[in-house]
């Protein structure tokens, strides 16, 4: 069994979605986000994380449906011994020594595995019609870029980073 990253599931309440806000998630989002496919290798994911310097990428299936996220937290968790990342696990690993060789060996072991096996499924998503305030709240709570997902189809239509939100709010009239 693969160890999954942990996260929260959070969606908007229906009564919020019925409102007609002045500015929605769809108006703010980056509509052509960089994504990982579920069958991309961890090696490719690592290259992308290093080149884009972002914390997470949305992961989609062959039809562009959103599956979850994969990023630095998931990858670092895969490199550490399970005993240290589990609830009630080891609090300290200093006795393992410097550990560089072990970490590199672990990375070699998982390089060719598909990211779909280790994706964080429990991740916050937001609908395109979500109002700005709710989007800011969710971004604040999770301190991460939010995938914007069209609810009926499950397709990823964009992402909103905290920078996108601050740029919109901070823009001069």
């Amino acid at each position: 069994m693969a160890v999954q990253c942990h996260g929260f599931q959070e969606t908007l309440s229906p009564n919020i979605r019925k409102r007609k806000p002045a500015m929605t998630a769809a108006a703010i989002m980056q509509s052509q986000p960089v994504t990982l496919r579920h069958d991309d290798t961890i090696s490719r994911a690592l290259d992308m994380l290093l080149s884009h310097r972002v914390a997470n990428f949305p992961v989609v299936d062959g039809e562009g449906r959103f599956i979850g996220q994969f990023g630095t937290h998931c990858l670092l968790g895969l490199l550490l011994p399970k005993a240290a990342i589990l609830e009630e696990g080891l609090e300290d690993l200093a006795f393992l020594g410097e550990g560089g060789d072990q970490l590199r060996e672990r990375l070699r072991d998982i390089r060719e595995e598909p990211v779909g096996r280790h994706v964080n499924f429990a991740t916050p998503v937001i609908q395109p019609e979500a109002p700005l305030m709710e989007t800011v709240l969710l971004a604040y709570r999770h301190n991460a870029a939010l995938p914007v997902v069209d609810e009926p189809s499950g397709r990823l239509v964009g992402t909103i980073s905290p920078w996108d939100l601050l740029a919109v709010i901070g823009a001069k009239d």
Binding site: M1, A2, V3, P81, K82, A83, A84, L86, E87, E88, G89, L90, E91, D92, A94, F95, L96, G97, Q102
Partner: protein, 447 residues
């Protein structure tokens, strides 16, 4: 109507207290076993109803609570909560793995042995919480299946806990109710526990012998561990080991000094908190002490509180006396038969249901059999039978003891699930083997 003892001749609405107490007792037992409602809530509700329905008045209910058991449990929980922060348990586990040159068989034996030893001195759940993560790390580095090691740890924790007065809650309760001392438990139970531990490890090693191999490279990784780095707070380590040594000495000397084990454990806990916080400002002290008390398993403590009142209720209402008479009748008043019935009955029941309410019920039951067997001093074979049966019985199934469930939960999260049936198919026969050994021991030594 309540008499001088605070117990009723009639309950609310003129009901017979025997019936009221019996119905409450059975309902509480059934709810605890169903695990639909938290066991502490059930026992406190049962205790409240014993009072509200007039079986006991409040003074009588308070008399039923064994504060010695509560104090001993709480004090030891605080001591362990502070000690674990020093990293000493990881140190011992890694040190032991290196002592056997990281050979898988040796590691299995060492980790099981250490678990048994620690369980004899500490709470079983705490012990497995400390040992299971290191075990998982070692097996991960060795690239071997963790199942045999985790299985060994589960069995060792329940077996080791049987050896002393403080090792397992049933023993704490028996010791507190009977006045049997730390030394009594050590001298009477530790030898047979050591034999059972050794005997149990033989089939475990044989069953999983094919899993107990590792490459030279993997073993070298373990040998490269620096156990000294596991000690995260050397000052705290010295303080904690000093206090633990004083507490164990206190348990040994408690009887001649006319001290209760709870006094020793609570004093030890207070001393360790004092030493840990020496030189700190008020805010840090407050945070640290709050953290230590937060580590106490309050659900367990309150479960005991309610349970003591419920059992005292049925005792005062006369149900325990009737159950004891029935047991004496069934065993024809023969001590040998009674001891074997208590031993095997406790073992099988403890494998299936929570052994704490069972032992809480059995204690007054056995006490009330004293006149039949010629006085309280002749009941000792029954107390050792109850202890061995209730503690070792926990090894029969995955739900037999809290420590089993804690290891199973951890293994599951790590992706190495321990399933109920496969566990039972191996563990139950091993539990029966331990009870068979105990039977021979009880028979030869006491009957």
């Amino acid at each position: 109507m309540h008499g001088h003892a605070g117990t009723a001749s009639t309950a609310l609405f003129g009901w017979d207290p025997l019936w009221v107490a019996t119905i409450l007792f059975i309902a509480a037992y059934a709810l605890i076993m169903s695990e639909k409602v938290n066991r502490a809530v059930v026992s406190l509700l049962g205790a409240g109803l014993m009072i509200l329905l007039g079986v006991l008045n409040q003074q009588a209910a308070l008399r039923g609570i064994d504060f010695n058991t509560l104090g001993l449990l709480t004090g030891m929980m605080v001591i362990v909560a502070i000690t674990r922060k020093s990293g000493v348990f990881q140190y011992v586990a890694i040190w032991s793995a290196k002592k056997v040159n990281a050979r898988p068989l040796g590691i299995l034996l060492m980790l099981s042995g250490i678990t048994a030893l620690l369980s004899a001195l500490l709470d079983n759940v705490t012990t497995v919480l400390l040992i299971a993560p290191v075990t998982l790390l070692i097996t991960e580095e060795l690239k071997v299946r963790p199942y045999p090691y985790l299985f060994g740890i589960i069995l060792a924790s329940n077996i080791g806990g049987t050896a002393t007065l403080i090792g397992d809650p049933p023993n704490i309760m028996i010791g507190s109710a009977t006045g049997l001392s730390f030394n009594d438990f050590l001298l009477n139970l530790a030898p047979i526990v050591a034999l059972i531990m050794a005997t149990t490890l033989v089939p475990i090693c044989l069953i999983w012998r094919r899993d107990l191999t590792a490459t030279e490279g993997a073993r070298q990784r373990i040998m490269g561990f620096n156990e000294r780095e596991a000690i995260t707070n050397p000052r705290l380590l010295k303080q904690a080991l000093t206090v633990l040594a004083l507490v164990v000495a206190g348990f040994v000397l408690a009887h001649p000094l006319h001290l209760e084990p709870a006094t020793v454990a609570m004093s030890g806990a207070a001393l360790l908190m004092l030493l840990e916080n020496l030189g700190r400002d008020g805010e840090h002290q407050s945070k640290s002490v709050h953290g230590s008390f937060a580590e106490v398993e309050w659900v367990t403590i309150f479960f005991f509180v309610g349970l003591f009142v419920v059992v005292y209720g049925i005792e005062q209402a006369g149900l325990i006396k009737r159950m004891a008479d029935a047991l004496v009748h069934a065993t024809r008043g023969d001590l040998k038969v009674s001891a074997m019935a208590v031993l095997w009955g406790s073992a099988v029941l403890s494998a299936l249901v929570d052994n704490i309410p069972f032992v809480a019920t059995m204690i007054p039951l056995i006490k009330s059999m004293a006149p039949v067997f010629g006085g309280a001093e002749h009941l000792r074979p029954l107390w050792w039978s109850l202890s061995l049966g209730a503690c070792l019985g926990g090894n029969g199934t995955l739900i037999g003891a809290s420590a089993n469930l804690v290891v199973a939960g951890f293994a599951d999260r790590a992706g190495h699930p321990i399933r109920f049936l496969p566990f039972m198919l191996t563990a139950f026969p091993l539990m029966l083997l331990s009870i068979a050994i105990s039977s021979v021991y009880i028979y030869l030594r006491y009957l």
